[in-house]
Every structure is written in C-alpha cells, then in structure tokens.
C-alpha cells in the first residue's frame, strides 16, 4: 500500500505531521514517538530574535478543547538552527517544516533568508494566523490583499517551498486560500486556532492573562473540515489539514474533505502517541477498504 504523499515536490513517507507549537521540535516527544516514523515534524513558530511570549496563565481548558495564548515564545532563528535543526538531523525519513512568525514583513523575510541554506529545512510554513500576538500574525491573515502580498514577498525570498497557514477567524476562507494561491504559495495549511475567551466566574476575571486565546482540539474539528473542504474546491494547490484531529477517523475525514496531509496538534497533549496511533488506524482503514494508494481518497467526498 502506498502511504506516500507529495506536496510541492517534497515527498512525505506518510501524510501525518504534528501541528506547529504542540510538539516543540520533537525533542520532548521523542521519548514517546519515533520521529522517524512521521511524515514530517512541524516546528514551533520561530522569529528573527527570541520572543518572550505572553504572561501566564497561558492555558485554559474548554469543553472538548483548549485555549492557548503562548504568544509565540521562541528562542529566535539562530538558536533554533543550532539546536533544533541539529537535533532533527538524525531523523532522515522525516521531513522538516519550519513554522515562521514575525511582526512585520521584514521579520518574516529575515527568518526565511536565514533558513534558506539549511539543508534540514524541507518546507516553510508561514504563520499569518496567530491570534495571540498584537502585531503581525493574524492581522496579515484576515485581509486577502495582505495575504497575497506577504505570500508573494516571502515566496520571492524563500529557497524552500512555502505553505501559508491560514486563520479560521474569517468570513470566507476560500478568499484567503485564493489570495495565497495568487501570491504564489506552494500549499496552504489550515486551520490555525479560533479566537476564544474564558472567564472565571468566581474570580470574575479572565482565565488567560492575555484575555483571549486560540481554541484548538476536537471542538473545532467540524469547522476545520468544512474549511478544508471549501478550500479544496477553490484552489489547485495542496492542503495540509488540521484542527482537532485526535482519531484516525478525524484524519481520514480531513483527507476525504480534500487535505493531502494532516497535522495533529492538541491531541498530542492527552495522547503523546497520537500521531503514530492515528497513522496505524488509517492504514487499517485503507486495508479494510482495499484502497492501495492513500492519495486516492483525497477530496473524493464532494
């Protein structure tokens, strides 16, 4: 059976990645998961310089999901290259997607250029959809003109293929997908988190120091499936689908809706072997259904 999928010329041994920010650079979860068995590791968002992130509490639980307001804490691209990319060198079968964040176009470009000659970087995921930072992030991702522009700019500086990561906090995701495509994106990934809020009724104050946070987990899955479906039927570039995937059924659902590959995020937090468990379940499903090539289920539900 073939489980290989190809996105922008990069071949993945299988369509399972973990979602940026939920897995570090893989180091912490390597005690539970053989990173070499994943399609790709998608690293935590990295900026040109270290970012301290938001004050705590940064985490809140909601029903069938969670809110986070990490605020893209990261050590900056230098340390990232020296430590995280170096660590990832040993996992030869697995591709590496580096998630890139910035407050401004210049900052994105600085990171992209620094990564240009790093052989371990197979693809760049450009995060224009983080709801937890004041400038940059989601501001880029909610206006189609800005999406197209930043895509074009990043693309012109990038050596590796670029995946634009879209925000679900928009009226029409198809418009954003088309803007990314028009700007020259090699692929899109969605969804990033939905902006939510939790108030502690006893303390009469916000649970998160940042007031709002990004919602993820199974609660957002139906919205993610809908958006992946809408995009798959609007653009020709491939889609990496994510949002609440925690079982193999969720992953298959996302592929049937039109995703070529899928990322697993929040599920890692309650099941550290979620990625490999999901992959095993998908393979069982394909065998049971006598499907020889995983690519043949992509987007077949119309």
């Amino acid at each position: 059976m073939n489980t290989k999928v190809t996105i922008a010329g990069v071949e993945f041994q299988n369509p399972i990645m973990e979602a940026s920010g939920t897995f570090g650079s893989g180091m912490e979860y390597s005690e539970f998961v053989d990173l070499n068995s994943l399609g790709a590791v998608v690293t935590k968002g990295v900026a040109n310089v270290p970012w301290p992130g938001n004050p705590t509490p940064r985490i809140a639980e909601v029903r069938s999901g969670m809110l986070n307001a990490i605020g893209l804490q990261n050590p900056g691209v230098e340390v990232f290259c020296e430590r995280d990319l170096k660590f990832l060198e040993q996992f030869e079968n697995t591709k590496v997607l580096v998630n890139v964040c910035g407050h401004s176009a210049e900052e994105y470009i600085e990171v992209v250029e620094r990564l240009a000659n790093e052989p371990r970087v197979d693809m760049l995921e450009i995060n224009i959809s983080c709801p937890n930072v004041k400038e940059g992030g989601i501001a880029f991702g909610q206006d189609p003109k800005a999406v197209e522009e930043i895509t074009r700019l990043v693309k012109s500086h990038a050596k590796q293929p670029i995946v634009m990561k879209l925000s679900p906090n928009v009226t029409d995701i198809k418009v954003m997908a088309k803007a990314a495509e028009a700007g020259g994106a090699d692929a899109i990934s969605l969804i990033n988190t939905l902006t939510g809020m939790k108030i502690d009724v006893e303390r009469q104050s916000f649970v998160l120091a940042n007031k709002t946070g990004g919602m993820s987990g199974p609660a957002v899955h139906p919205i993610a499936v809908r958006m992946v479906y809408e995009c798959a039927n609007s653009v020709k570039i491939p889609i990496i689908g994510m949002g609440g995937i925690s079982t193999w059924e969720d992953a298959i659902e996302m592929m049937l809706a039109g995703a070529t590959a899928v990322s697993v995020g929040t599920a890692n937090f309650y099941n550290p072997t979620a990625t490999t468990d999901i992959l095993a379940g998908m393979i069982d499903y394909l065998e049971r259904k006598k499907i020889n090539d995983i690519n043949s289920i992509v987007g077949i539900v119309k």
């Binding site: 705590t56 940064r58 990490i70 929040t266 937090f269």
Partner: protein, 254 residues
C-alpha cells in the same frame, strides 16, 4: 523514562474534607523520585487536559504510587469517584524532583503542598524537620510525617492547632535553621519561605505550579519567570513541567 499508561485504582479514601488519597498501580513508580509529578487524565471525553498531581509516596516493591489531592474542579471531582479496580490514564514521572541534600533539612508544605513533602521526607538522607500549614484542624498526613520527621511543626490559619499563622510564622517561632529548605505550597508562602531562607542564608528549593497542557516541555504553556535567561527559549522563562517544578528559590521570580 516517561510512561503513558492506564493505571489501576487500588484504593481511595478521603483524608480530610475534600482531600483524597488515591493509590494507583502504575509502572511510573519504577522511575519516580520525590518532587516529581504525574499527569492524571479525566475519563470524560470533554475534559482533555491533564491534571498535574505531585507524587506523595512511592512503593517500588508493590509497584504502587500514592497521590493526595484536593477536589478543586470537575477533573479532581471525577477522580474522587474512582473506586478499587477502576482504570485511569496517567503519564509520568514528569519534571525534576528535589535534589536530596544536607545533614539537616526543613521540609515545608502548605495546604495541598503538604503531600509532595512526604516522599521527600522519607528519602532525605539527613535529619528532617517538617513544617506543615493547614487552614484549620482538618489535618491530613500528620501520622505519616510524625513517623518520618524528627520534628513535626504545625501551623493553622485559624490557630486551632499549633502556631496560629503561616508556616513561616511557625519557622520563626521555633527559630528553625538547617542546611537546606524544601517548600511546596501557594506562591505567597513560597515567597515568604524563600525570604526566610535568604535571611538565614539557607539554600532553598521551591516547587512551582502553573497551568499545563503537554507536561513535557513542548507547548511552552507552563512557564514561570526566571531570574536568568533560560536555556530553552533564552527569554527568562523556565518551563515548570520540564525545567521544574523544583527550582532553587534564587532561580525564579516569586
């Protein structure tokens, strides 16, 4: 080595009002040291995140681990209903434990910070003075500490038992000194203990608490402010779950 597995409930009892002692059969105890914690996962499918709970007692011979927790919300409420033979998902051991140091140590626990000091007191090589703070006379784990500490000093908020006041009031009252202090409890208590330690020039370890998601250092949810740049993100943030929960009192901003 960290494990995620389904543990079996061996015993559960209510020690004091809303404070439960849960005995689990889990392989985690093979690798656990005092001061580490485990993640316990609710069985209810709408509650996804782990509940971090400190290890109170380790019995490697029988493969048992004891945790003591307070019912604080829906997750711990669910745990309090677990009965012999029930199964529950756990992950651990997580974080770094207390370094076992000193000829003479003071272990300080406040409220639900009391339980983690028990296994520590059992394993410390030297003389142990236990200082435990409670709200009122609804005490718990008193016999246990009496057995393992050379002295047990109690403070209660309402003065019903021991010193009327905080654990630090009790420490001052008894002019306690030692080579090292270990403390777990609410942040204001940790701050006061750290100040006492500084005054008396005693090395002091504190166990911190923060909201967590992954419990393994990946999500950066649980950071506390550190006095120096941290090794991981280089931004004065230490991860409670991975770099802690035990820190030198001088390493972190209390």
């Amino acid at each position: 080595m960290k494990i995620k597995e389904t543990a079996t409930v061996i015993h559960q009892e209510e020690l004091a009002s809303g404070i439960f002692r849960l005995v689990l059969e889990t392989k985690i105890c093979d690798y656990a040291v005092p001061g580490q914690f485990i993640n316990i996962f609710p069985n209810d499918g709408s509650k996804l995140l782990p509940r971090p709970i400190s290890i109170c007692e380790i019995n490697k011979e029988y493969g048992l681990m004891v945790v003591v927790y307070r019912v604080a919300g829906a997750g711990t409420k669910e745990f309090s209903e677990l009965k012999l033979g029930d199964r529950v998902e756990v992950m651990g051991p997580l974080g770094n434990g207390f370094p076992l140091e000193g000829q003479k140590a003071i272990v300080v626990g406040g409220g639900i910070g009391v339980p983690p000091m028990y296994e520590l007191a059992r394993q410390l090589p030297g003389d142990v003075i236990a200082v435990m703070g409670y709200r009122n006379d609804d005490l718990f784990l008193v016999e246990e500490f009496t057995d393992v500490a050379s002295d047990l000093i109690i403070a209660t908020d309402d003065g019903s038992v021991g010193t009327h006041g905080t654990v630090v009031d009790a420490m001052r009252e008894n002019h306690l000194t030692a080579d090292v202090i270990y403390a777990c409890g609410p942040k204001p208590m940790l701050k006061a203990v750290a100040e006492y330690a500084k005054e008396k020039d005693i090395k002091c370890y504190v166990s911190m608490e923060e909201r967590m998601a992954c419990g393994v250092g990946a999500c950066l949810g649980c950071v506390c402010q550190s006095t120096e740049k941290d090794d991981h993100s280089h931004v004065n943030n230490k991860r409670v779950c991975k770099d802690g929960p035990v820190f030198l009192s001088t390493e972190v901003v209390l």
